[in-house]
Structure formats: C-alpha cells, structure tokens
C-alpha cells in the first residue's frame, strides 16, 4: 500500500499521478453541501462583522443609537460573538471539513441530503438565536447566549453532520487515515457532546461558571481548532508538494491536544471565587499545552522551510501559513496567560479580547479563507474572479487583524497595570483605553471591507459569473515548475480549474 508506506503524505497526494478522475468525482459529490455551508457561513461573517462594528463604534459614540433597545452594546456584542462562532466559523468549518473528509477518505460524500438539511437547520438556529439575543432573550452565559430554542435547531443540525460523516467513513476507500482525519473525526465527536453538556439544566452559581468556561474554551479548542489544524495539515504539504515533516510528531500533537486542551479553560476564573484546585488544574494544563503547540509548529515549519517563496503566489498557502503561524502565537500566549502573575494583570482587560481574536480570527478564520480559496474552484469547476480582489482580501484582513491585535494588546496591558494601581482613578483608565479602541474600530472596518470583497468573490464563483478564467488564480505569474509536483503534464488544470494546482 503506497498510502501506508508514506504516512506523511495526504492520501490523494501519494498517488498524484494515478487516476485524476476519482478526485473530480469525489469533489463533485461534495458540491452542494460545501456550497451551502460556505455561502451561509460567509453571510454570517458579513452580518457578524456589521454587529462588531456597531459594538465597537459605540465606544467612540456612546450616545449613538441608545433609544433602540435591540442595538444596545450589551446585546449587539453577544450577537456578534454568536453569529461569528455558531454562524461563520462553525459553518465554514463544516463546509471545509466535508470536502476534506471525502477527499481524504477517497470516497464520495455520503448522506448529502442530511448535510443540506443540516445547513438549513443551522441557519435557522443561528437566525433565531441572534434575533433572540437582540430582542432581549439572551441567556447571558458567555458563549451560550442564544436562547434554548436556537439550540433545538443547532443540535440536530450537528448530529446530521455526524451521521453523514460516519456513513462516509464507513464506505471509505482510503486505507490509511491521514492525521487530518483524526482531527476532524475527533471534532465531530467533541462538538455535539460539548453543546449537549452545556445545555443540561443542572448548573447554577459557581459550578455554572466552571462549566461555562470548560465549555467556552473547549468550543474553541475542540470544535474550532481541529478543523483549522486539519486544514493546515492538508493544505501546507499539498500546495508545497512535500510530505509533512514528521508523521510521528503529528500523532504526538494530536494526543497531547486531546488530553490537555480540555482542562485549560477554567483559567478564565483564576483568582475568582472557585475552588483552588480547579484553578490550579487548569493552570497546569494550560502550561502543558506548550507541548502540542510546539510540536505542530515545528512540524509545519519544517514542512514549509525552503519553500517560502511559494507564499508569493498561492492564495491558499498564504492564508493557511498566516493562520498556522497565528496558531502557534495564540497558543503560546494562552499558556503564558495562565500564569498567575500575568493573569493578574491581563484578566478583565482588552488584552483578553485581543487574545481571543488571535485565535478565532488570525488562526481559524484565516485558515478557513485559505481552504475555501482552494476548495471552491474544485466544487464549482470555475475560477476566482479576480486575483486583485483576492489580494485585497488578504491585505485588508491581514493588516486589519494585525492592527487590531496590537492595539488591544498594548491598550489591555496598560489598562491591566493601571487597574492594579489603586491611585489611578477609574475614569482615567477608561479615558486611556479610548485611543486603542479607536484603532479597533478602524481595523475592524478594514477587516469588514475584506469580508465584503470575499463575499463578492464567493458569489461570483458560485454563480459562475463573468468570463471563465484560464488557469488557477495566483497572485503573480508563476515561474515554470513551481507547482509542477502536481498535474505534472499540465493537463489537470485544464480539466479541473483550480486555485493552486492539480485537481
């Protein structure tokens, strides 16, 4: 079995020169589910961005739109979080995962009607939930604000995804399970379990707080992170054209993540009125998260090393590598944050907001963009409308999140030290955060522009608008042979148009 002989290679790379056609067949089988999830996700991305802008600009104009209860900061802000988490990144994650799942198992996606139904239920759930929050029915539990009825749609939607994935797994043709399959398989188990666990009506008081942060942190680590890593593990070797540096490291990375991550969340309550052992446990495991992070970082770095010039051309690679590097950064930062001293300074400040955006945006969202740039041409058999706009999307979002993170990190640290000094009046602290919050509004605007560009490109490719562009979309003309490892005879990009290379 060539697959098992070279386990660091995504199975559909292993036999790159064998049959091309199975890939087209498999990709085609994912077409409507992928389009449904990716397009819905992007709609939520745009809505979530507008909500974010309203919330952010309220710090510059606190008396703007105060008569409309549904636009008050305390409602718009959770509405933003929920549309982004349950709408954008969850649905984008499922869309990308569905495609990867079929590809990596070399099998047509099974239960497609279930996925389509799932997308419909999912959208309804997020819609009902968002309207519920804005209308004043928030549950006021961070990361689970949407009223129960929203989850009455979302939980079945998740279970439908599980059913379709298991059915596909059952019928797989690939013998070897590439590491991305591990991450995706674990995530579709973890996601529904997490949501069901937090909906149990058994919590109140302090135990509710520990359960809350166990959940919120794990939605990030066990539901949003694994598809991001799965995509990084797939696309980086794929686009570069060499196997993952070490397959053993990738196993180690998986198991350490699975074992450590889910204990870390309660570090949000360090110093709070929780039993001491709870805080200690989560500090210990947050610190241990250094292991999976370093492992993944080293592995990806050693895969890319020597091929950095390819970032110049490939949109997918550029977004995905940006995301993978952010994963390292956000995770190391998370480990650091759990130390008592640093927690004492940064907890309760804008620093935390910067941190969470480094995770959900700079890591997960950027990887999702990169993956979508690769996947969409294959499921639509069309090309991206404009490399200029792809480039604009990259720079607005890349610079936007960079400025956002920098401003809130610095502003948050200043805020934290000031709060530790009782001689600084509270209103002075409030005043000193204002310039940083202006930067947030500006960078948020930049990112929103990027999202609108992306949405426009997506509509174009789904509707197959305009001239059918020639070959794959690259930022610059590609020198002969750069991506020759796939589609060596060049015929593939004719038969299956693509963003990067081969079918």
């Amino acid at each position: 079995m060539p697959d098992d002989a070279s386990p660091g290679v995504p199975p559909d790379v292993a036999d790159a020169n064998a049959d091309v056609d199975w890939r087209r067949v498999v990709d085609a089988s994912t077409r409507w589910p992928v389009i449904a999830f990716v397009v819905s996700a992007t709609a939520w991305l745009v809505i979530g961005s507008l909500l974010a802008l309203i919330a952010s600009f309220k710090f510059q104009f606190p008396d703007w739109w105060t008569h409309q209860a549904w636009l008050t900061f305390g409602r718009v802000r959770p509405a933003h979080l929920n549309t982004m988490i349950y709408g954008w990144i969850s649905m984008a994650g499922v869309g990308v995962s569905a495609w990867l799942w079929a590809r990596l198992l070399k099998t047509r996606l099974q239960g497609r009607w279930m996925l389509l139904l799932s997308a419909a239920l999912w959208n309804l759930g997020v819609l009902v939930g968002t309207i519920g929050i804005l209308a004043g029915y928030s549950r006021a539990i961070e990361w689970v604000e949407m009223p129960y009825v929203a989850f009455a749609f979302i939980v079945p939607a998740m279970l439908l995804v599980v059913a379709s994935f298991i059915q596909t797994l059952w019928q797989r043709h690939a013998r070897h399970l590439y590491i991305s399959v591990w991450y995706l398989g674990a995530a579709i188990l973890w996601g529904p379990l997490l949501v069901i666990a937090i909906l149990l009506p058994i919590y109140s008081g302090i135990p509710e707080a520990t359960a809350n942060w166990w959940y919120a942190h794990n939605i990030l680590g066990l539901w949003i992170t694994p598809p991001g890593l799965a995509a990084a593990y797939y696309f980086i070797p794929k686009v570069i054209g060499r196997p993952v540096h070490s397959y053993h490291l990738s196993y180690l990375g998986f198991w350490t993540l699975a074992l450590f991550y889910n204990w870390a969340g309660v570090h949000h309550l360090v110093g709070g009125p929780v039993p001491q052992w709870v805080a200690t446990v989560s500090i210990v495991f947050s610190a241990m998260m250094i292991i999976p992070v370093i492992v993944v970082a080293v592995n990806h770095h050693l895969t890319v090393v020597g091929h950095f010039e390819k970032l110049k051309y490939s949109p997918t690679l550029r977004f995905v590598v940006f995301g993978a590097m952010s994963y390292t950064a956000v995770s190391l930062q998370g480990s650091l944050q759990s130390f008592r001293y640093w927690q004492e300074v940064t907890h309760f400040t804008h620093y935390t907001i910067a941190h969470s955006h480094l995770g959900v945006y700079a890591f997960a969202t950027m990887i999702a963009f990169g993956a979508i740039y690769y996947i969409m041409p294959r499921v639509t058999e069309w090309e991206w409308g404009s490399k200029r706009l792809v480039s604009l999307h990259f720079w607005t979002t890349g610079l936007g999140i960079g400025a956002y993170f920098t401003a809130l990190t610095i502003g948050g640290v200043i805020q934290g030290f000031q709060m530790l000094n009782p001689d600084v009046a509270f209103l002075d602290i409030v005043d000193d955060t204002k310039p940083w919050l202006i930067v947030r509004s500006v960078s948020g605007t930049l990112m929103t522009i990027g999202h609108l560009v992306f949405a426009y490109l997506l509509v174009q490719i789904v509707l197959k608008r305009g001239e059918r562009p020639e070959g794959p979309t690259y930022f610059h003309p590609v020198p002969e042979g750069t991506f020759a490892h796939v589609g060596g005879d060049g015929s593939r990009s004719v038969r299956t148009p693509s963003a990067d290379q081969d079918g």
Partner: protein, 202 residues
C-alpha cells in the same frame, strides 16, 4: 477499524474526564454550601431587575467577583471589603462573574453607592454623573413626561440641566429601571469575621 475506535474512544475519554472534573465535581463539592451572611434569595422585584441586567448584557463590561487581597487591587480600589466567596452566589441561577472590566466590579456596589437618585441618573445618562464614561445610556428604561402628568407613585430622576429634557418635561423611571436598582442593591458583600481565612483557602 481498531485505529478509528482508538481515536474515538480516546477523544471521548479525554472530554468525559475533564467534564466530570471541571463541570460535575465542583457541583458536588459546592452543593452543600451555605449562603454567606446577608445573601438571601431574590424578591420578585430583584429578580425582575436581575433579568434586566442579564438581558441588557451588563456582564460584558462589569464583573461580579472581588478578588482577595494579594491578587489584584480590587479591595484597595474599594470594590469590596473582602474577596467574593462561592456562598455569595448560591441564589444566582445564571452566574454573572464576568470576564471584562470596562466598568468597575459591581459585586459590592450597594455598599459604595446606595443612592437611588445617582443610579437612576446614571442609567438614564451615565455621562451626567460620570463625565467621560463609555457606558451606554438606557433611555428606554425611562419615560419622558410632562411634569403635570406625573403620578404621585412615580419616581422622577433628578438630572443636571444639561441632560434634563427641555421645557416642563421630566424623566420618570419605569418599573424595570426601579427593579434594576433593587437588584443592584442586593450586590453587597457583608464582612465576615473569619479573618479572611476562606479567602486564602477557597
């Protein structure tokens, strides 16, 4: 097949363990906890006010947890005379510990600011009492009325001329604004005479 079973079982075991430890164990450990002195169940009005607090998302700017001396400057800032204890929260169906302090911690607000006039003016227009504040105004928790239409049972909000409505109109608190005030007045940390022993231990 065995490999797949291993992945699923391992993934399941990992999450089941942490769920048991972090979500279920604290629940068992704290199930017999006594409310701290001064902590009582909410009255109807206080509960209504609490629901307004939840609904309007005060949590995104205000925490309700005073950290003990030795961890942060909460006590030296005057946010409470002692650190918060699990027993302070036994009647909280939806915890509001919070993770953000764009505004001050509110777990002991009743001790430091008991004035109803102040709170109502602040909710109607924070900048009328705290210049430079970024807290949202909540005009929809109030009504603007002609002075002559105000009933004796209604509570008018004293406002500086700059923020008062023009002419002979006044601002009157709705039932929700008054209930929110009532709820805020339940947020009080009574001193305990155990020498802070539990602050260190909890």
């Amino acid at each position: 097949m065995t490999r797949i079973a291993l992945i699923f079982l391992g993934a399941f075991a990992a999450i089941a363990m942490s769920f048991t430890a972090l979500a279920l164990l604290p629940r068992m450990q704290l199930s017999t906890i006594e409310p701290t002195p001064g902590t009582t169940d909410y009255t109807y009005d206080e509960q209504l006010g609490r629901e307004v607090y939840l609904r309007e998302g005060c949590i995104y700017c205000h925490s309700q947890q005073v950290r003990p001396e030795g961890f942060g400057a909460d006590i030296r800032r005057g946010w409470g005379g002692r650190g918060s204890r699990p027993g302070d929260y036994v009647f909280d169906e939806t915890h509001q510990l919070g993770t953000m302090r764009t505004g001050p911690d509110l777990h002991d607000i009743a001790s430091r600011q008991p004035s109803r006039d102040w709170h109502l003016a602040h909710l109607y227009q924070p900048r009328s009492v705290s210049p430079g504040s970024v807290m949202p105004a909540y005009p929809y928790l109030f009504e603007v009325k002609k002075k002559s239409n105000v009933m004796a049972s209604e509570v008018t909000v004293p406002l500086s001329p700059e923020y008062a409505p023009p002419g002979d109109s006044v601002v009157v608190a709705t039932e929700e604004a008054l209930a929110l005030y009532d709820y805020l007045m339940t947020l009080e940390l009574e001193p305990l005479n155990d020498g802070g022993a539990q602050d260190a231990a909890n």
